[in-house]
Every structure is written in structure tokens, then in C-alpha cells.
């Protein structure tokens, strides 16, 4: 036994690798235990729909189980699902990916993100990403021995990552740009024209783009542009997407990656040793989702849109400046008027008014002065939360 563990397990700490010790825990989960022990908390701290998966999708998975679909699938995923995805990408985005070797079924976008970083990065390679951004972005790069390089974005520029800001940070170690629009935590969407500038930069500096488009279907009054559709970008883009957000399937852990053969093959190589395959029942459910959940998705988008309007207006009415999110299901209001840091604000708000939000700093330094509030929450709850926050702001506004 001791031969298998060359490091002596004297304390629990020194059996953990330095790399993992260095890795900070996700800022989102900071208050988790606290909230779990409190009563009457309204949580705007979630990152998932408040819908259960549409029944016909669940029913398809139940049927699959009844029929005995309980085994492994091929590493890259059920051929029917890859075929369906290939069809979806053609009809939805005009993108043609070969289902045989250009699509990989992953355990959520999370796994796809991890795989792609491990597949493309040499130690010390740099990956440029926006600040603030989803918590797993810098972590996935770090775990793959890469270096996350953050591009500051701000409210004045609608939290969009700008080509000119990226260019300043490009070095000879820059390997890729990682973007996720519509964005968690800001709700920002980048219009096609601006994405084109990004594409030119990528071409010019011979980079790859990892595009997490899991919120792609959740846009309000604007169009989402799939990055791979831009001129010359299909070969350079690793498209990551999944079923969690649009189809309310977070617990199924099912997503996919689409990219050129070499990259998909490399990702699959890691996937076959680590994950083997995504759960078969989730894959069966995903096939059903692609077949016919358009109406449900549309209805959910409409409901999110209504709640988005209520939340943004609500924040403005209680005196918080709030950038208008155009996608995903988060609002990212500024709490600078209170003079508090994001963490102070979030903690105090939780204790005094029992409303849980996520401090913007969980998503990067540029999130300081902001909080993330999820509007995938029932309207009465949003209204009650706004009422409580209004009282809180009134009390805590200096002057």
C-alpha cells in the first residue's frame, strides 16, 4: 500500500497535490452551507432553470430504461445522437459537422471544457478569456497546466470582450481564446459584427477559439451568433454546447463538442480513459430533446424574458444601475452605490434580508461592485426579493 502512495499521509493536507491546494474553491458555493441552514431564504444564487425537464424528454429516458438501455455506449456517444446533432447544427446554424469524427458527446459542457484544455495545451500555454467569466474557465485552463489570461470587461462596454483588448494580451504563448456568450454571469451577448473582429484577430494570430454556447438558445430580442459560422472560423473553433440550460436538463449531465477531426479525436482519447461515455439514458433523453422540444424551449424563453424585464426594472427602481442582459438568465446589477464590496454586500444581504446572491468577484476581479442574480426564479419570488433588497439598499446607502 505504501508503495502506491510514495508521499507519506501524515496529515490530510500533505497528501493533496500542490496544484490542487493552490486551486481556489468556487466562489459560487461560498455561502452554500450557510444558506442550507437558514429558513425563508429566497435564492437568486442558482445557475439553473426552475423548470423540470419537459415531460416527453423524461418519458423517453424512462422508456429507454424499461427497454434495457443500461449499458455503455461508444466513446463518442450514440450514433443516433451524433447524427441528430449534426442535423441540428446544419438546420440551426448552417454548420456541417461529420457525426462520425467531428462530434463528441460529453458529460455536460463542463467535461468538454476540461477535455479541450487538456487536448490543446502545452504547459505554460496561455488562454485568453473575459473577466468576469464562468468560474470553471480559469480553473480548467489551470488544471491543464495552462495559464488563464483575463481580459477586463466592463458595464460601460456591455461586458463584451473586445478584439483590441485581446490583442494587447496576445503573446507567443497564446494558444486560444475562450469565450462564453451569452455570458454567465453578466448576460452579455456579442453582436455578429463585433465577433467578426474577433475572428479576424484569431486568423491573424493563428489561434483557436473555444466557444461555450450553452446559453445560445436563451436570448431576448437579439440573435445569437454561433462563432464557428464566421468566415474561416469553423476549423479554428471548438464549439461546446449542451442540453442543461435550454432544455432544463442540468442534472442529466449531457453536452457535446463539435470541432475539426484532429481535436475531437484528441479529446475523445482523454474521454475514453477518464469518462468512457456519457450516461446512455441521458443520451437517449437528448435525442428526444432534439426531436421535439422546440415549443417548450420557446415557452421557457418567453417566461425568462418576462422575469428578466421585471428584475432589471426592479433593480433600477430600487436605485441600482443594471446593465440590460440580452441572454442567459442572469442580471448583473452594480452595488457600488452602497460602498460595500460584493462579498460584504452578499453576506450582509443574506443575514439581514435573507436573499442569496452571488458576489461578482466569484467570476473575476472585474466582478467587484456587482452581484449575480438569477431570474430563473418564480415571479412572486423575484418580486419579494426585490422588495427585500429595496429595503436593504435604503438602509445601506451612504448619505
Amino acid at each position: 500500500m505504501s508503495k502506491l502512495h510514495p508521499r507519506k499521509l501524515k496529515t490530510s493536507k500533505n497528501c493533496i497535490s500542490g496544484k490542487v491546494q493552490e486551486l481556489p474553491p468556487s466562489g459560487i458555493r461560498k455561502f452554500f452551507d450557510l444558506i442550507a441552514s437558514m429558513e425563508g431564504v429566497i435564492s437568486l444564487g442558482v445557475g439553473e432553470p426552475d423548470y423540470t425537464t419537459p415531460w416527453h424528454i423524461r418519458e423517453a429516458a424512462i422508456y429507454a430504461l424499461e427497454k434495457g438501455y443500461t449499458m455503455y455506449t461508444s466513446n463518442s456517444g450514440l450514433p443516433e445522437l451524433r447524427q441528430a446533432l449534426s442535423g441540428y447544427l446544419i438546420s440551426h446554424d448552417g454548420l456541417s459537422y461529420n457525426p462520425t469524427d467531428e462530434i463528441l458527446i460529453t458529460v455536460g459542457v463542463s467535461e468538454g471544457l476540461d477535455l479541450v484544455m487538456r487536448a490543446i495545451l502545452e504547459p505554460g500555454d496561455e488562454v485568453i478569456m473575459p473577466d468576469p467569466c464562468y468560474v470553471a474557465y480559469p480553473a480548467s485552463v489551470y488544471l491543464a497546466d495552462g495559464i488563464p489570461v483575463r481580459v477586463p470587461t466592463n458595464e460601460e462596454n456591455a461586458f463584451k470582450i473586445k478584439a483590441e483588448d485581446i490583442e494587447k494580451l496576445i503573446t507567443d504563448r497564446t494558444r486560444a481564446i475562450l469565450i462564453g456568450y451569452p455570458a454567465n454571469p453578466t448576460g452579455a451577448v456579442i453582436p455578429k459584427e463585433e465577433l467578426k473582429q474577433l475572428a479576424e484577430l484569431v486568423q491573424e494570430h493563428d489561434l483557436l477559439v473555444i466557444s461555450d454556447e450553452v446559453y445560445g438558445q436563451l436570448v431576448y430580442g437579439v440573435e445569437h451568433t454561433c462563432f464557428a459560422t464566421l468566415p474561416g472560423m469553423k476549423e479554428r473553433t471548438i464549439l461546446l454546447n449542451g442540453f442543461s440550460k435550454a432544455y432544463a436538463m442540468t442534472g442529466w449531465r449531457i453536452g457535446y463538442a463539435a470541432a475539426q477531426t484532429d481535436i475531437i479525436k484528441a479529446m475523445n482519447k482523454i474521454h475514453q480513459y477518464t469518462m468512457l461515455c456519457a450516461p446512455i439514458m441521458s443520451q437517449m433523453a437528448a435525442i428526444e430533446a432534439l426531436k421535439g422540444a422546440g415549443k417548450e424551449v420557446q415557452e421557457m424563453v418567453r417566461d425568462y424574458d418576462q422575469r428578466r424585464r421585471v428584475m432589471v426594472k426592479g433593480f433600477r427602481d430600487i436605485g441600482l444601475s443594471c446593465f440590460e442582459p440580452k441572454g442567459a438568465f442572469y442580471a448583473f446589477p452594480s452595488i457600488k452605490v452602497t460602498g460595500m464590496t460584493s462579498e460584504e454586500f452578499s453576506e450582509k444581504l443574506l443575514f439581514e434580508e435573507k436573499v442569496a446572491v452571488v458576489p461578482g468577484t466569484a467570476f473575476g476581479q472585474c466582478g467587484e461592485g456587482y452581484i449575480r442574480c438569477c431570474y430563473a426564479t418564480s415571479l412572486p419570488e423575484i418580486e419579494e426579493a426585490l422588495k427585500r433588497m429595496g429595503k436593504f439598499i435604503k438602509r445601506n446607502r451612504p448619505g
Binding site: 444558506i35 442550507a36 444564487g45 445557475g47 439553473e48 464562468y134 418567453r302 415571479l379
Partner: protein
């Protein structure tokens, strides 16, 4: 776009009739005055028929018996089924009345305090009507879902308070 937004007002009201004009305005982005105008007009035009509350009476311990009554009717010259339907729907016991295709003609949802009350209505009021040829009464044993609402609360939300 505008048409679509107006529809949102009705869809929202159908789910929750208590929404105020201010709330509807915040939800749809339509100015409050315009929401009010739209709703008032819909009330006047009987697009909005009424504002009601769905109540699970069984939870209050209130007995209420429901029956689905299939009625075979001889259609009448010139008026078809409309005249008999009108005779039927005027009875307060007839909660809903539909003309149906298939093996019978008119479907009636009848409610009463007791089975006896429903039976008396069917045998003494409905069946003797001139054009009614036969009736079949199905008593409702349990109500699972009504007007899109699952009675007993459905499955509830099982999400954690803080997730990525």
C-alpha cells in the same frame, strides 16, 4: 412583435389572474397605460370571460361530486344541436357543455353536492328532454389535473439554493 407582446398579456393573465397592470407592464415591456387599454378592451369584447380561482375543494373537506354525462341527441331542423345545447347549459348543474364528435353528441360536466343530486338532475331534467335519446353518466372518482394544474401540488422543485 407588438401582436406577440399583446398575447403575452393574456397568457400571463390566464396563469395568474391577479397580476396588476403594473406587473404585466414590467413583464412584457408594454407601457402600463397600454396594458390597461388592452385588458379593458378584452373584457368588453368578452375575450376575457372572467377572472377565476382554482380551488382544491377536497382539501377543504367539501364534498363535491362530478360526472361526465354523454348525451345522444336527435338534431333538429335548422338549429342542429344548438337549441338543445342551449336548453341544457341553462341548468346551473351543467358546469361545462360541449358538442362532441364520436359515439355521442353532447358532453356535459355536471357537478353536485351528492351523487343523488347529480342522479336526480340527469334522470329528471336531462333525460326527459324531448330530443335527448339516451344518456350515459360517468362519475368522476378522482381528479388528478385540472385546467393545467396538478392537484396535490405535482412534483415540486428539487433544486439546491446555490448552483453554478
Amino acid at each position: 412583435m407588438k401582436q406577440e407582446n399583446t398575447m403575452q398579456i393574456f397568457e400571463a393573465l390566464e396563469k395568474d389572474a391577479r397580476l396588476t397592470h403594473a406587473q404585466l407592464s414590467a413583464m412584457t415591456g408594454i407601457p402600463e397605460a397600454e396594458v390597461e387599454k388592452t385588458v379593458k378592451k378584452a373584457e368588453k369584447d368578452r375575450v376575457i370571460l372572467k377572472y377565476k380561482t382554482a380551488i382544491d375543494w377536497a382539501k377543504l373537506g367539501e364534498e363535491q361530486v362530478w360526472a361526465l354525462v354523454e348525451v345522444k341527441v336527435a338534431p333538429q331542423r335548422d338549429v342542429g344541436f344548438d337549441s338543445i345545447a342551449e336548453r341544457i347549459y341553462k341548468f346551473p348543474q351543467a358546469h361545462s357543455v360541449y358538442l362532441a364528435s364520436g359515439t355521442y353528441d353532447v358532453a356535459i360536466l355536471v357537478s353536485g353536492k351528492t351523487m343523488q343530486e347529480v342522479a336526480v338532475f340527469v334522470s329528471e331534467k336531462l333525460a326527459p328532454l324531448d330530443t335527448v335519446q339516451s344518456t350515459v353518466t360517468h362519475f368522476i372518482l378522482k381528479r388528478y389535473k385540472e385546467d393545467g394544474e396538478i392537484l396535490g401540488g405535482g412534483e415540486g422543485l428539487k433544486r439546491l439554493p446555490i448552483t453554478p
